[in-house]
Structures are given as structure tokens and as C-alpha cells.
């Protein structure tokens, strides 16, 4: 006993012994220690991708439950379930089982809605994550590969969502499938062959729901899962990028260790995502297929839209003029080809190749671990805003009939506003964003040079009024700050540099007594209040090393006395 206890590193507890035995067999201690100790930087925007990851997990869990009850068959059956308005109506087995899921399976409707909301959140958070990566320059070397994987994930998630939207075989999704079919048909040369291969004959046939089902539950999610794993592995290998700040360089990562802080936060975020999806699933109705009715190619409802993430294609289809290019010999490129095949092809190609394009244009092929603030790269930020505007006009136009109806606008006016807006708005947004970026940059420089505006107005002996500025650091002979801009946020308020009373804590209402905080601040000698008590000159730091007189607002000084 004594011998064992004396030996260093030998476990004495039950858990410790078990772990020792495990490590003895699998040799995981070193790897586990490295993983647990790995440091992840902390910023709210780094959690956007995690939202996508966790909604994918929610999708896998809820989707598995749905597969127990869904029958992906286009066999015609007559409904005889518990939803009275459809009793006796012929429909496909897929639609019947979806009705069964909604009305006869315990918790079925809730899980269906949870699954659908999670899908919408999945794609929405992918786009939010994509925007974060783009606008902060996180795609630059060495992360181009992960960018490409991310774009692939995005496209696959659109495909996955579309397949899921289609398989209940209701009137809404059937209309979507019909449009999807025409899009495939419009592809020159191979369109017809592709169409017949997918549908195994003419539209709608007997097979397409079964095929989309396998794509939806096996093929695409399998690829998604593999690519997400790869995405994360590459992230761990390359380490997470971080925003510039005190102590942060291209060669370190400042943040929290994976265990326990980061893991706890991520776990919390998972439950938040699950909670949002479950809350929406339980409280807000989504895709009420029983209202849409079974699919019948002879029926089409007004306001038939795809889910929002396909809305941009719907919008481009609605905006594009009916230009059909006819060739001699009975060949034609039908109009849908340009807005629904060519345009998204260009959009996603540009998106995928953007890191290479930017590297080529800026000739910046250096490795970057530090992120950029969007204002510091005005061209990229403006181009991104421009692309986003283009996308938004398309998405809005995808629902233009609903908007026209609800807001009493002419549908023709909506269409033309979309057409004109699609061309005019992006350049306007580019210019505006560019000016905003420059303005923000200039203000950063202004604060670094002249200090923070304190809001204290002084009157000089000769009568002139000046606002007192608080320099952020040492000043030169002219009273100008000597700090260089380091790519990090510049404090612009006195309480960000401890120069004013700190904010009273509490989110909705104060959780501490303001008078008490005031006393604490005075006791600690912080803030303007402390300075007032001592009769000290406001904003003078008192350091003789500063040379200039900050209270003069950094203006060039006449020799005094």
C-alpha cells in the first residue's frame, strides 16, 4: 500500500484507476489532454457556426423519429384517417403517412414541426456564419479549404432542405417539384435526359418521392455529416482565428480552454438551439400539409412558395423576362435556364472562388490568424453588402405576390421594382457601404489622434470654447496621440477606458444600488466623480511623461507663461 501511494502519478481513486486501465489499453491520455487543453478564442460571432452545427444535430435526432412513421411511396391510397376534411380523398402513401404523423402519431406533429423549424434555422445560421467568415476575412490563407467545404455544405443544405420539403407530396411541395422538373428540363442538351433519369419517366411518375427520400435521409445527410466532421477537424488543426486585441498575435490564440469553459458554453448553446427549435415547433405552425391537400398536377394554388432558402431562385424566376433563345433545327434554351441554372451557377462559383479571387487581386498570399474588422477592408465589405443586396432582392421577389396581397401593392409594380432594384440597388449599396467604412475608419483614427470626446466643454482665456479630449496614450509635442491603429476596436467612450462611472449592472433593471456604486467608484478613485472630489483638472491623467496638456484637446499650443 505504502509503496503504491509513494509512487508519483499512480491513481488512487476508483475513477482514476479506471482511467489508468483505459489509457493502458488505448493510449488516449496525451491526445485527450491536448484536446481538453486546446484554447478557443471568445467572440459572439464565433458561435454562429455552432448554431448551424447544433441545429444539424437536432435535425438528425428529430428526423430519425420521423422515419419510423413516414412511408416514402407514391402508391395511391384513399385516406381514412382522423382528419375529416380529407377523408375519402385519393392521395399518395407519402402524403397519407405525413397526415398520420401529424394527427395520429403521438408527438408526431410536434416533431415534424420541430424538424422543419430546425431545418429553416440550419440554413439561416449557415448564411449568418458565412457572412461572419466573409466580412472578417476568415477565409484567407490558410483557411481556403475550409471555405470551399463550407460553400459545399451550404449548397448541399439547400438540396437537403428541398428534398425534405418535397417528400410529403402535398400540393405545395408538388408544385415546387413541378418547377424543379422544368428547371432540369431547361438545361441545354442534357436536361431531358437528366429529367427522365431522375423521375424514371415522365412527370410525376411513381419514383421521385422514394428517390428524394433516400437522398434526404441517407445520401445528402451522410455527405453533410462527413463534411461537417472534416470542417471541424480542419478548424481544430488550423486553430480558430481571432480578432486582434491586447496580447493577440498571429502566433497565439487567446481564449478559453476546451474543458471546462468552452465545453460548458457550447453545451449551453446546444440547449438554446434545441429550445428555440422546440419552442417554435410547439407554438408556431409550420407547413400544415393538411391545409395544402394532396398533390394533384391539375391543381396549383396562388402563393405557392418554396421554403425561404430556395426563395432566391423563385425570385429570379419571377423577375427574369421570358426570353427563350431559339436555334435552327428545333433547339432552344428555355427561359428558366438563365435565372434558375445559370444565375445560381455564377453566384455559387463566385462565392466558392472568392478567396482565390481576393488573393489574386490583393496579392496577399500571407497566412493570417488575425481577423479583420469589416471597416478596415472597405472594398470587400462593400462587395459583400452588394452581393447580399442582390440576394435579398431575389428573396423578397420570391414572395412578391404575398407582399403585394398583404400590403395592397400591385403585383406588376412589385415585379418591376424587383427587376429595377436587382440592377440598381447593389451598386448604390456598394457606394453607401464604402462611405460608411471610410467614415468609421476615419473616426477610429480621429480618436487615436485626438482622444475620446469627454463631453466636457471648456472656455479658454480668450473666449474660445473647446471640447476636452482624453488621449488614449502618450501624446507628441502637438498633443497628438502616438498610438497606431492595430485592427482592434478603439474605445470611444470614457467608461470604456475607466474614465467615467461604470455602468450599473443589470440587464432589464438594475441589480445593484446606484448610490452604492457611486461610493465604491469614489473610494477606488475611478471616474470623473473622483476627479471632481479632488478638484483635479478633468481628464488630466497626472502623468508628467505625457508632456502635452490633454485638457487642451490636443490642439497645437502656444507657449505659456
Amino acid at each position: 500500500m505504502a509503496r503504491t501511494a509513494a509512487a508519483p502519478g499512480v491513481p488512487t481513486t476508483r475513477v482514476g484507476k479506471a482511467a489508468y486501465e483505459l489509457d493502458d489499453r488505448f493510449i488516449v491520455a496525451g491526445w485527450l489532454r491536448r484536446t481538453m487543453n486546446k484554447v478557443y478564442p471568445d467572440h459572439w460571432s464565433f458561435l454562429l457556426g455552432e448554431i448551424a452545427l447544433y441545429s444539424f444535430v437536432v435535425l438528425l435526432l428529430s428526423g430519425t423519429y420521423l422515419t419510423f412513421f413516414f412511408d416514402a411511396s407514391m402508391k395511391e391510397v384513399v385516406y381514412n384517417g382522423s382528419y375529416a376534411p380529407l377523408r375519402g380523398v385519393p392521395m399518395s402513401a407519402a402524403y397519407e403517412s405525413t397526415l398520420g404523423l401529424s394527427f395520429d402519431v403521438r408527438g408526431g406533429l410536434f416533431v415534424r414541426q420541430l424538424h422543419h423549424w430546425a431545418a429553416l434555422l440550419f440554413v439561416a445560421s449557415i448564411i449568418a456564419h458565412l457572412m461572419r467568415i466573409f466580412f472578417t476575412g476568415a477565409f484567407r490563407r490558410p483557411r481556403e479549404t475550409n471555405w470551399l467545404i463550407g460553400v459545399t455544405l451550404f449548397v448541399l443544405s439547400l438540396l437537403e432542405g428541398f428534398a425534405g420539403y418535397t417528400i410529403p407530396d402535398d400540393l405545395l411541395s408538388g408544385t415546387g417539384l413541378r418547377i424543379f422538373g422544368t428547371v432540369i428540363l431547361s438545361i441545354p442538351v442534357v436536361g431531358t435526359w437528366l429529367f427522365f433519369a431522375l423521375f424514371n419517366g415522365d412527370y410525376p411518375g411513381q419514383f421521385v418521392v422514394g428517390r428524394l427520400y433516400i437522398a434526404h435521409v441517407l445520401l445528402v445527410p451522410g455527405i453533410l455529416l462527413a463534411l461537417i466532421g472534416l470542417h471541424l477537424l480542419i478548424l481544430i488543426k488550423q486553430k480558430h482565428s481571432q480578432f486582434p486585441g491586447p496580447g493577440r498575435t498571429e502566433h497565439n490564440v487567446v481564449g478559453n480552454r476546451f474543458f471546462p469553459t468552452f465545453a460548458a458554453k457550447s453545451g449551453g448553446l446546444f440547449f438554446l438551439v434545441f429550445g428555440v427549435c422546440a419552442g417554435l415547433g410547439g407554438l408556431v405552425q409550420i407547413n400544415p400539409v393538411w391545409l395544402w391537400g394532396p398533390y394533384n398536377p391539375a391543381q396549383v394554388s396562388s402563393a405557392s412558395q418554396p421554403d425561404w432558402y430556395i426563395g432566391f431562385l423563385e425570385g429570379s424566376m419571377r423577375l427574369f423576362p421570358a426570353w427563350e433563345i431559339n436555334f435552327p433545327g428545333n433547339y432552344a434554351i428555355p427561359a428558366p435556364f438563365w435565372p434558375t441554372v445559370f444565375l445560381p451557377g455564377v453566384m455559387f462559383t463566385l462565392l466558392a472562388l472568392y478567396p482565390m479571387l481576393e488573393r489574386k487581386l490583393t496579392r496577399d498570399s500571407a497566412s493570417h490568424q488575425l481577423l479583420q474588422r469589416p471597416r478596415d477592408v472597405p472594398v470587400r465589405t462593400s462587395a459583400g453588402a452588394m452581393a447580399l443586396t442582390f440576394y435579398l432582392v431575389l428573396v423578397i421577389s420570391g414572395g412578391n405576390d404575398v407582399i403585394a396581397d398583404k400590403f395592397d401593392i400591385s403585383l406588376n409594380a412589385m415585379t418591376w421594382a424587383g427587376r429595377i432594384g436587382l440592377i440598381l440597388l447593389p451598386p448604390i449599396v456598394y457606394v453607401i457601404t464604402y462611405r460608411i467604412c471610410l467614415g468609421l475608419e476615419h473616426h477610429d483614427r480621429e480618436v487615436l489622434e485626438h482622444g475620446i470626446e469627454t463631453g466636457v466643454i471648456r472656455r479658454l482665456p480668450h473666449g474660445e470654447f473647446i471640447e476636452v479630449h482624453q488621449p488614449l496614450g502618450a501624446v507628441d509635442a502637438h498633443g497628438h496621440g502616438e498610438l497606431a491603429y492595430g485592427g482592434a476596436p478603439v474605445p470611444k467612450k470614457m467608461n470604456q477606458v475607466g474614465g467615467a462611472r461604470r455602468a450599473i449592472r443589470g440587464f432589464f433593471r438594475p441589480v445593484e444600488d446606484p448610490a452604492q456604486v457611486e461610493l465604491e467608484q469614489r473610494a477606488e478613485g475611478y471616474g470623473l466623480s473622483a476627479a471632481e472630489d479632488e478638484g483635479r483638472e478633468l481628464t488630466t491623467s497626472g502623468r508628467p511623461s505625457e508632456g502635452g496638456r490633454p485638457s487642451e484637446g490636443g490642439r497645437p499650443q502656444e507657449p505659456r507663461d
Binding site: A84, S125, V276, L280, I286, V300, S302, A303, V402, N412
Partner: protein, 296 residues
Amino acid sequence: MSTPNHPSEAFDENPGTARRLLAPRRHAPGSPVAAALTRRRSKRRRRLTNVAGLFAGLCLMGALYTTIVPGAQAAGDTTTAAGTAEAAGQAIYNRTCISCHGANLEGVPQRGPSLIGVGAASVYFQVHTGRMPLARQGAQAIEKPPVLSDKEIDQLMAYVQAHGGGPTLPSGDLRAGDLAQGGELFRLNCSSCHNFVGEGGALSSGKAAPSLKNADDLTIYTAMLTGPENMPVFGDSQLTPDEKRSIIDYVQTIKAQADPGGAGVGRIGPVSEGLVIWVVGIGVMMFGIFWMGSKA
């Protein structure tokens, strides 16, 4: 030059009079003030008599008119109740419809179509939903509270029906039909404009298929029968009366039905769902990650 002052004098006098009528002051009889007051009072009395006389005369004229004029027409026409209703309908027509639909229901180019043969059902739909009388010429008549009373609508219907006939109001239970068949027929015939469950939808150039939310059974039936505005006519040979009743049954059942999945968000599908996920879903998530980020 005194004319411009006149109205202001009248204005000055009237409030004073009213005040004195409400609270008469007492003065000693025989005093100059009392004499002046008596003079004023007799003047006022004269005026009041004049007004009362005029009023009585107008009343008498009105009464004579109402008794004599329809009587004269009824004498030339028939003396039945239907004839009376028709005549009253014509009076309403002449008062509210004639400017656009013409003196003999023949229509006025650029203003309103002929009403010969449109039938009572059309009158019921247009007037009962407040679309007629038209508020203004536009892409489409706007639904509003009805201007005419039910009795007046009945009279107008009788008048229009008497000129060229046309579809009449149905009778019996308008929901006596097959619910599921009604759903199939609704999706086939109606949903392309009115949406899956009658939420309405946009048509071209500012026109729209209205929501069926406020439509009662008879309104839906007469709409199908007469095809108002851009709506096609679904005559009895296209949709039999039984099929029409099935459709009404379906529409009203679905409208009354609760949303089992929670808030219906307009029952218009992906557009409102997309709005919800971005505003509520992403909104709450952003709130959450800001909060987590601030706990660094």
C-alpha cells in the same frame, strides 16, 4: 360695401339670442330696457312663426309626394307587393346606381357595365359586400360595410331581376355537401387565386382575389354563381348546386378549424415561416450568443 360685414353681424347676434333664451334677465316693466326687450321678443316670435310655417309646409309637401308619386306609378304598373318592391328598387337604383349603370340598366361606356340579365344574385353579392355603390373607379371594387340596408338590397334585387332575369339567390342549407369533395373542388377551381384555404392572393395590376375570411355562405354562393370582378362564372352546369354547397362547407369548416400546430402565422406557408425563422429564430439566437459572448 356693407355686405361683407353682414355675415359677421348675424354671427354676433345668434349666440347672444341663445344665451338670453336660456337665462332671461328680469327688468322693471315700463323701463326703456323692458320696452326694447318686448320689441326684441316680438321680433323673435315672428321669426319663429315663419320658420315653423316653412317647416310645416315642407313636411306636407314631402308627405304628399310620398303618397302621390308611387301611387301614380303603381296604378300604371301592377298593384302586387312585388311591383311595389320593384318600384322602390327603381327609386334606389335611380338614386345610387344610375350614374354608372345608365338610366335603363344598359350601362355607361367607361363607367359601368350593363345590368340587364345579371340577376338578383349579382346584386346581392355586389351590394351586400359593399363593393357597390362603387367608392371610386380603380383596379377593383373595394369591399366595405354595405351602404344599403337589407330591405333596400331586396328591393334593388327585385328591380334588377325584373329586367332580363338572371341567377337568383339559392335557398336551403348552403353547407349541405360533401366536405372532402368540397376540398378537392376548392383546390381545383378556387385555390389558384384564393390560395389553399381561401387566404386570398394577388392578381395582376393591383387586382386581387379577396380573402374568404369574412365571406358568409350566401356571399360565396352568389360569387360563384355570378363571377364578380375577375372571378370566372361557375354556372350550375360547371359546378352543380350540390358542388357549390360542398365548396362552401369546406371553406367554412376550414375557417372555423383551429390550427393544431400552434399559431397559424397567416396560413400562407413559406413566406411567413421564413419571416418567423429570421425574426424570432435568429433573433432569439443572436440574443443568446450576445449574452454568451458578454460572459467572457
